[in-house]
């Protein structure tokens, strides 16, 4: 159940320049959140931040291995005012959190899993929702491939964590890590490699990347889910500020769907990017 709470910051870690991992204590949320869902994060004083900011839940953390998780993490990049303010938070600080929100990735169920390969595509900070996905897949994660691209090596945060859990193919624009290419290049090759394999591609990253991934998948009739971004003000469906256009609306009235409620994850066939 979605709730609005003031939560304690359990800790914060800097992952190289401009990337941070913020840990927030909220056991109930950590236990029910699904990969691709998000929270609205704000400061408790509304005077300091009128509009909260949306962040994917990146990972959940238990106090001891084997225990149920007691907190969740947010993996973020510093862009502007809000993320700069968040980057200054230390353990013990209080944040206001609304969540879990939205509809996450939907996965082939276990029976189908052997027949369906899960392919993840992340551009830069678009890797944020995937640690939780791998956690939720458990041992099945090792069959997952992650195509992970960035401008440069510094953008590939949590890389060794991913490498311990799934197959990782990296690309960078400056060649400082993996192939010097856009992430869509090896992705297309992979899909062409064994075109008859049943696959689902889950992608998160900047808009131009998502557009390219969608085209690659649609052209090959590969199932593809996109985690979209739009400006989010409320996060729970009431302001109608966060819409994207549907490809095949049932009526003119249903032309737009809300990223925060019907998404943020959409089937690539459903939306116009």
């Amino acid at each position: 159940m979605t709730e609005n709470r003031d939560c304690t910051v359990a800790g914060q870690r800097e992952l190289g320049e401009d990337y941070f991992l913020l840990q927030v204590a909220w056991p109930e949320l950590a236990n029910q959140v699904c990969a691709g869902q998000f929270v609205m994060l704000g400061l408790p004083d509304i005077g300091e931040m009128l509009i909260r900011r949306p962040f994917s839940v990146a990972r959940t953390v238990a106090s001891e291995p084997g225990r149920a998780p007691c907190s969740f993490e947010i993996l973020y990049k510093v862009y502007g005012r809000a993320t700069r303010a968040f980057s200054r938070l230390r353990a013990g600080a209080v944040v206001s959190v609304l969540g879990p929100l939205g509809r996450g990735f939907w996965l082939p169920d276990e029976s189908e899993h052997d027949r369906t390969e899960i392919v993840l595509v992340a551009g830069g900070i678009g890797n944020a929702p995937f640690p939780l996905l791998l956690q939720q897949l458990g041992p099945r994660a090792q069959h997952v491939s992650l195509f992970f691209g960035g401008r440069s090596r510094e953008d590939l945060t949590l890389l060794s964590w991913f490498r311990e859990r799934c197959q990782v193919i990296t690309t960078t624009e400056d060649g400082s890590e993996g192939r010097r290419a856009l992430v869509t290049e090896p992705l297309a090759e992979k899909l062409d490699d064994d075109p008859n394999r049943r696959r689902v591609v889950l992608a998160c990253g900047p808009q131009p990347m998502l557009k390219a991934v969608a085209e690659i998948c649609l052209a090959r009739e590969v199932l593809c889910q996109l985690a979209l971004e739009e400006t989010i003000a409320c996060g729970f469906g009431v302001c109608l500020g966060c819409v994207v256009e549907q490809r095949h609306p049932a009526s003119e009235f249903e032309r737009y769907v809300r990223v925060c409620t019907e998404g943020p994850v959409f089937d690539a066939r459903e939306v116009i990017l």
Binding site: M1, T2, E3, N4, G42, I46, G47, M49, L50, I51, R52, S96, L98, E230, T231, A233, C234, G235, F236, G237, V238, C239, L240, G241, C242, V243, V244, E245, E252, F253, E254, R255, Y256
Partner: protein
Amino acid sequence: MSPAVRTAVDLGRGLVLRNPLLTASGTFGYGLEFEPFLDLARLGGIVVKGISPKERSGNAPARIIETPSGMLNAIGLQNIGVMRFVQEKLPALRERDTALIVNVFGNSIDDYVTVVEQLEAEEGIAALELNLSCPNVEEGGLEIGRSPRSIEQVTHAVRQRTRRALWVKLTPNVSDISETARAAVSGGADAVSLVNTYVGMVIDVERRRPVLSHGHGGLSGPAIRPLAIAAVYQVCQAVDVPVIGIGGIVAARDVVEFMMAGARAVQVGTANYNDPAIAAKLVDGLVEWCAAHEVADVNQLVGAAQQ
């Protein structure tokens, strides 16, 4: 919380609210979405999203952008239309123990009359609020709300067709809001609510075009609070009907400020996004403020700062 503080306020035509805290149209959905976060019965009332004769899909994205201490929106009055509102929302809403105010808008006198006539037979609506002021839709509320004559005409036309309390919501994008307020009153308004959003624009300098697909939008939030306070203060000197204050309320202190400027009730808007339970918290905060300041009845605040 002191139970000794009296909070009921009279908004005219027999409508007495439990307390002065309302939620502003377009920022509180159809109300039911907020039930996970607060008890609607705690509020003085709720104003639902603006209703038009037909459903509307609204503007293309982007529709919102943050600004310094504010928010700019051009939703384009997306709504489900009066028929679906009556069928899908009203049955549940009228069960709730709170005053339900329906915000109505249109592009013409006929539009307003159509919606109001369809609502007239329905139970469970405490008041109608006419949005003559939305700066977002071409040929929409904009023109009507800036012309005293048009305001009077629309108000009068609706007045003929409803026995309900009738509120007119004023746009602040005018040279003299006292004049438009007087026009609403002479058209038959039982109360005026102000302010709606201010026309604003943000430009995306990288893409060299306005951020919002619509170009301009409406500014709300604490940035506009001093402007709204001035408008309420001024209108209270111009008309005798109750004034409902709106604009940038985020704390109990702001509620008190609007009431001292002359508002009989207030609406909280953009802040609902930041904290979906804020309207109920403001009721508590207002009562606490009054108790701490030995104010036995919130009505004693009304106009206290007027000379």
